[in-house]
C-alpha cells in the first residue's frame, strides 16, 4: 500500500474541518429552533459526518504508515485512551455523587481531549525517537 502524502492528508483534514466549523456556525444554531424530532435529530447529528470522515482519513494514514510510524500511533493512542478513560470515569463518579454538576453535553469534549493527548504524546515520541519537533515527521 502506498504511503499517504502528508501534504495531501493535511489538506484533506483542513478541508473537512472547515466543513465542520461551517456546520457549527450556520447549521448548529438551527437545532434549538427546530420542532420536528426527526429533523432535529438529523441536524444534531450532521456535525458527526466530518468528524467520522477525519477519523477514516487518520485510520487510512495509520494503516499505510511504516512500522515506526504505526508503533508511535499505537503508543500515542494508548496513552490518549488511558488518560481520557480515567478522566471520564473520575468525572462520571463525581457527577453521580453530585459533587460535579454537569450535563451530558460534556461528552462533546471526549473526542477533542483524545486528539489533544494523542497529539502531545506523539510530539514527545517523535522528539525522543528522531530528535525533531516535527509532529508529522514520523
Amino acid at each position: 500500500m502506498a504511503r499517504v502524502s502528508k501534504g495531501k492528508y493535511n489538506l484533506q483534514v483542513a478541508a473537512i474541518m472547515a466543513v465542520y466549523v461551517a456546520l457549527m456556525l450556520f447549521e448548529w444554531p438551527l437545532v434549538g429552533k427546530t420542532d420536528g424530532l426527526a429533523l432535529r435529530t438529523l441536524l444534531a447529528l450532521l456535525p458527526t459526518v466530518p468528524v467520522v470522515a477525519v477519523i477514516v482519513l487518520a485510520a487510512r494514514m495509520v494503516m499505510r504508515g511504516d512500522e515506526l510510524e504505526q508503533r508511535m500511533h499505537l503508543i500515542a493512542l494508548s496513552v490518549a485512551m488511558g488518560v481520557v478513560s480515567v478522566a471520564s470515569i473520575v468525572g462520571a463518579f463525581l457527577a453521580i455523587a453530585h459533587v460535579w454538576k454537569v450535563d451530558g453535553g460534556v461528552l462533546i469534549w471526549v473526542f477533542p481531549a483524545l486528539c489533544l493527548v494523542y497529539g502531545v504524546t506523539r510530539l514527545v515520541l517523535v522528539r525522543r525517537l528522531t530528535g525533531a519537533w516535527d509532529f508529522w515527521g514520523c
Binding site: 504511503r3 511504516d66 512500522e67 525517537l129 528522531t130 525533531a132 514520523c138
Partner: protein, 66 residues
Amino acid sequence: MKNRVRELREARGWSQGALAEQLEVSRQTVNAIENGKYDPSLPLAFKLARLFKQRIESMFEPDEGR
C-alpha cells in the same frame, strides 16, 4: 542495537530520503534506525541487508550489556 546503516548509506552517497524511498519508509524512520533509537523489524532488517548486499549480522550487532 548498533548498526552500520549510516556508514553504508554514506558510502553509496545516498541521502536519508533516498534510502527511505527505496525501503518504502519515512525519512525519520531511517534517521531513528541510524541513530540507534529504533531497531527495525526483521523484514525491514532483511530489506536493508538486501539493499546494501550485506549479511544482517554484519550490519547489526547487539549493544554490550543489553
